[in-house]
Every structure is written in structure tokens, then in C-alpha cells.
């Protein structure tokens, strides 16, 4: 090649690199702790529970992975239901409020049409109530096989869940974009974006964070690698500091904890806490007085109870405060804690067949934690 074309192309390469770099958003927004820490007042202890109307889904063998979100219309919830996990008939359901009839908002046929390629099955879904009143759905499609063939997708509703935009694929993994799943409550960011706990389940199982920008962009970062813990539940302590509590995947069968001091850019190595975990999902949030509430299965072998523990020292030590009444339920899975107004909502899968919503307040937790109620 003659010198002039070589020089021209080299300059073009440098310019392309610079232009592309200038388009990147290297900084992640700070955690917005205000929304997590709304004061809950001094109301009398209260606890109520309802079994979510899963409509036609109630006649299906399995419903799972409920994700509620508080939005202007009330408490909306999504979950998936079908004959079994990863089955082709799994659909994603939406309920605008706990008493309303649910509606199917995503099937594998619709996902295939939207994404322009065949989809084998659907999986975990997560609902985000955006700042502008719209609802954003993140959901898993399975391209092949089981969960290791998962990919994440997104669509939006601007009318309270009645209609949804065409789904779009999020490319999050370097290896054929495989094995990305979503689970647990998203955190609002000060810049209007969201930090969403996700995880990879391919060669290893490890926790990650999906950063959704207010401009529609996305990126991903890692909490830890390897094959020790996943499905993080992230609790911000302030704008830059947070802890992530994680489901265990080691023989230790302990809930793992990692910390960040720089807004999620880097994390400490996950270490086991004193709390057991039977390789099951957990959920945590911050109470109005700064303590951290954790919902978990207090066992190393099964999911027969759903318990609560609190930490007053940012996760260093934990105190068990009690278990949810079992009400004949023999398996509690995938708890999801959410603060709504002055109360706390807790959704979970009961016996793999029902979505149950508990609503309680901090007075109820205080009574559980009081020395008179050991």
C-alpha cells in the first residue's frame, strides 16, 4: 500500500477509536438511597398475607419468581407460569394489583416475533417501575437447553401494563450472549438509571450487575467470578457504599456477602456469613433506622421455612428475628422484599404453585425482634 492511503487509514482508525471512546459512559450513577429509606412511621404492628390471583395461571402446575413493583396504579407483579421450568408453554404474567385479574404479557411466540429469531422458552422476569410512571420488563428467553442457554431481553409499557413495546435483546455475555439471568430488586440511581442484580450461569455461577442508563443504554459489571455464589440482593448504604448478599453454591451452604465502596465499580471477595442457605434465593432491604432486613430460608438443606434476620452493623453480624407463619406451606422459594409507602411487601413462591404476597410494617419486625418475643 502506498504511504498516503496508509496514513489516511491510520488516522481514520485513530479517529474511530477516539469517537467511539467519547460515546462511552464510563461512570456509573450513585445509588439513590432516599427511595430505599423512606421512614415507615410508628404504626402499630401489622402483618397481612394474600395469595395472588394468578388467574388461568392458577390452573397450571407451576408459577414462580414473582417480582413486584410499586407504580402509580398500585402494586404490580410479574411472574412466570407453565408446566415446568424451561418448558415451551411457560408464559410471563402481569398483575396490575393484587386483586386484579392477571394477563399474559409475554409468550415464546411473541418473544420470537419481537426478537426475529426462534425462542425455545421463557424464564425469570423482573419488573421495574420507572421514574416517569412507565413499567419496564426484563425477562429471560432460553435459546437452547436449560438456564445456561438464557439471554436477557427488555420491553416497556407506558400505560400501566396494558400494552408493551416490542422486546429487545440485551447483549451481555461474550460467548454467544449465553447464560444471563435476572433476579432480585433493582436499585434506582441518582442519574435516573437503574442497577439491576443479574447473574451468569454457564461454566460458573456468579453475581453481576446490569446498569441501565436513563438514555436507554446498558452495560454490565461483575461482583465476583467463579462458582461460589450468585443471585445477588444489593442493599445500598449510601451513594457509593453497598453490600451484596448472595445465594450460596458451595458445600458451605452459607449466605455470602460482598461490599463495594465505589458505587459498585469494585467489590470485595464474597465471604460466608453466619446465616445458612440451602442453595436458595434470598432478598434484603434497608429499614428506616438503617438496619438491614433479610428474608431467607433458615436451613442448609431445604426451603421449609421463610425467616427474617436483621443486621445493625451493615451486614457484619446478623440476628434471627423469626419466621413467617407456614400456613401449611412446605416450600418457600425466591422471596422478594420491596418497600412500598410505609409498609414492606414480601412476595414468594409457595410450594411452586402459588404466588403469595405478605405485607407488614417495621412495627411488626420490631415486635418480632423484641426480647419479649425470643
Amino acid at each position: 500500500m502506498p504511504l498516503i492511503p496508509r496514513l489516511t487509514l491510520a488516522v481514520a482508525a485513530l479517529l474511530s477509536g477516539l469517537l467511539l471512546a467519547a460515546r462511552m459512559h464510563p461512570e456509573k450513577g450513585a445509588f439513590l438511597t432516599g427511595e430505599q429509606d423512606r421512614p415507615s412511621g410508628t404504626a402499630a404492628p401489622s402483618f397481612a398475607t394474600i395469595v395472588l390471583n394468578t388467574g388461568a395461571a392458577g390452573s397450571q402446575p407451576m408459577v414462580h419468581v414473582a417480582s413486584p413493583a410499586a407504580y402509580p396504579g398500585g402494586l404490580a407483579t410479574v411472574w412466570y407460569g407453565g408446566t415446568s421450568e424451561c418448558a415451551p408453554d411457560v408464559r410471563i404474567w402481569f398483575s396490575g394489583n393484587p386483586d386484579a385479574d392477571p394477563a399474559v404479557i409475554m409468550t415464546r411466540e411473541k418473544a420470537s416475533r419481537d426478537l426475529g429469531r426462534p425462542v425455545q422458552a421463557l424464564g425469570n422476569a423482573l419488573l421495574i417501575a420507572d421514574h416517569d410512571g412507565s413499567l419496564r420488563l426484563l425477562f429471560v428467553t432460553i435459546a437452547m437447553g436449560k438456564w445456561s442457554g438464557s439471554q436477557l431481553n427488555s420491553c416497556v409499557s407506558k400505560d400501566g401494563g396494558l400494552t408493551w413495546s416490542r422486546a429487545e435483546r440485551l447483549t451481555l455475555s461474550p460467548f454467544f450472549n449465553l447464560a444471563e439471568l435476572v433476579r432480585n430488586r433493582p436499585l434506582p440511581l441518582a442519574d435516573g438509571g437503574w442497577c439491576v442484580p443479574v447473574y451468569q450461569e454457564f461454566l460458573g455461577k456468579f453475581p453481576e450487575l446490569l446498569w441501565l442508563g436513563s438514555d436507554g443504554s446498558w452495560r454490565k459489571s461483575r461482583i465476583a467470578g467463579g462458582c461460589t455464589s450468585f443471585q445477588p440482593s444489593v442493599v445500598p448504604l449510601d451513594g457509593r457504599r453497598a453490600i451484596a448478599l448472595m445465594r450460596d453454591y458451595t458445600p458451605a451452604r452459607r449466605i455470602h456477602l460482598a461490599r463495594t465502596e465505589d458505587g459498585g465499580r469494585s467489590w470485595t471477595k464474597p465471604i460466608p456469613t453466619s446465616l445458612p442457605n440451602p442453595d436458595a434465593g434470598i432478598s434484603a432491604l434497608r429499614l428506616s433506622d438503617g438496619r438491614i432486613l433479610l428474608a431467607y430460608n433458615d436451613s442448609t438443606i431445604d426451603r421449609r421455612n421463610l425467616s427474617w434476620a436483621v443486621s445493625g452493623d451493615e451486614g457484619i453480624s446478623w440476628r434471627r428475628i423469626g419466621s413467617r407463619p407456614d400456613q401449611g406451606i412446605t416450600s418457600f422459594s425466591y422471596p422478594y422484599l420491596l418497600r412500598e409507602g410505609e409498609g414492606i411487601d414480601q412476595a414468594f413462591t409457595a410450594d411452586g404453585k402459588r404466588i403469595t404476597l405478605d405485607r407488614f410494617n417495621e412495627g411488626f419486625l420490631d415486635r418480632l425482634a423484641s426480647p419479649a418475643n425470643p
Binding site: 491510520a10 481514520a12 469517537l19 429487545e168 455475555s173 461474550p174 460467548f175 454467544f176 465476583a224 467470578g225
Partner: protein, 215 residues
């Protein structure tokens, strides 16, 4: 990003080129009819023949929605050579492409799939990757290596949003290219450049000069 027509069109180029190459076969001098037939047949197979209600291009997008610009470029270069008999890439260009692919793969995939707490795939959303790739491309181009054109294309393609992915890694590397690079790199390294005195041998067949490898 949603699968815009431009994403679907771009994602189909690499499979089309690969299929066309397969259909042309190993004949070193394919006839015009065979070349045209191969291109048409590849197009038909990808776009028209339904498999389970979807065309083959859609099935390929299930597993490989983001062929890299480097892989697409290499396949087009190979196809162009077979169609027109012109070698667009010299041996050192191919060698640079395999070295780049192998090094990038070893950097990205083990750690990207969870070997360490560091995730190099996240660099693809940060400034570091385009700021590193730009100078590498410029250096190759200044040295006259045509692999630099592929990297320039990758940066420009990512800038124009031609892929479904927004990650710059997906513009410069994909698993197919990575695996091919690691398989072909040893052979490419063993093969010496023609043209330099030390590497040109007389093989005793009447003084005809041949390129470095045993012929």
C-alpha cells in the same frame, strides 16, 4: 437494541459468505457458473428454505447474533479471493489476523466467562477498548498490514451501530473467529513470509524459487 433490519442484514453476511465458500468448494479455479450458482444457492438456503417455521438466517441468529466485523471481513476477503482470483490478503495479513484473534480470545473468554473477578468484557462498554484498538489498527495500517483495515472496519461498524450488541468486543471478536484463530495460528506462524532473501529457497527444480514452507 431491537433487531433492526440493518442488524439482521449485517448478521446474515458472515453466514452467507461462509456458506458460499463451502458451496464453491476446493476447486482452485471454479467456473463462473459454479461461482454464481454458489452465491445464489447460499442466499436461498439462508433466506428461503424454512426450518421449523424460520429461515436458516434466523436460526443462526439464535446462537450468533453478532458476528464480529473481523470475522465478516475475513470471510468476505476469502470469498473475494475465490470469486475473482485476486489475493486481497497476503500471508502476513492473515497471520496478523490470527495472532490478533488468538490473543484477544485468550484475553477475553477465560476471564469473561468467570475465571477471575475481573471481567474484560465490561471494557467493551468503557473507553479503554476503543482507545486500545484504534492505535493497534493504526500501527498495522502504517506497517502496511491489511488486517488493520478489518480493525478499522470494526471500530467504524460499532460507531455506526450496525450490530445488535453495543459492546465493542463484539465488533472485533466472536467465538467463531476466536476458535478459528487459535486453530490456524500455529500453522500461520510456521509458514514463513515470501520475498525476503533468507526465506526464499531454491528447491532444486531448475532454480525455480518457492516460498519458505516445504513445497
Amino acid at each position: 437494541m431491537s433487531p433492526l433490519p440493518v442488524h439482521e442484514f449485517y448478521a446474515g453476511i458472515a453466514p452467507w459468505a461462509a456458506l458460499s465458500l463451502l458451496l464453491i468448494g476446493r476447486n482452485p479455479h471454479p467456473g463462473l457458473r459454479r461461482r454464481v450458482a454458489a452465491l445464489l444457492l447460499a442466499t436461498l438456503l439462508l433466506l428461503v428454505v424454512p426450518v421449523g417455521g424460520w429461515n436458516a438466517a434466523a436460526w443462526i441468529r439464535v446462537t450468533e447474533p453478532n458476528p464480529s466485523f473481523t470475522l465478516t471481513g475475513l470471510l468476505l476477503v476469502a470469498l473475494g479471493s475465490r470469486l475473482f482470483g485476486q489475493h486481497l490478503f497476503r500471508r502476513e495479513d492473515w497471520r496478523a489476523a490470527w495472532i490478533f484473534g488468538a490473543v484477544a480470545s485468550l484475553t477475553l473468554y477465560p476471564m469473561g466467562l468467570g475465571l477471575t473477578p475481573i471481567d474484560p468484557y465490561a471494557w467493551g462498554w468503557e473507553r479503554i477498548l476503543p482507545l486500545m484498538t484504534g492505535p493497534i489498527a493504526a500501527l498495522l495500517l502504517l506497517r502496511g498490514n491489511r488486517c488493520g483495515i478489518l480493525l478499522l472496519t470494526a471500530l467504524a461498524g460499532s460507531l455506526c451501530g450496525l450490530q445488535e450488541s453495543t459492546n465493542v468486543w463484539d465488533a472485533i471478536l466472536d467465538p467463531v473467529y476466536g476458535i478459528a484463530a487459535m486453530l490456524l495460528l500455529p500453522g500461520a506462524i510456521r509458514t514463513k513470509d515470501p520475498g525476503t532473501p533468507a526465506e526464499i529457497r531454491c528447491n532444486g527444480d531448475g532454480g525455480r524459487q518457492t516460498e519458505g514452507m516445504t513445497v
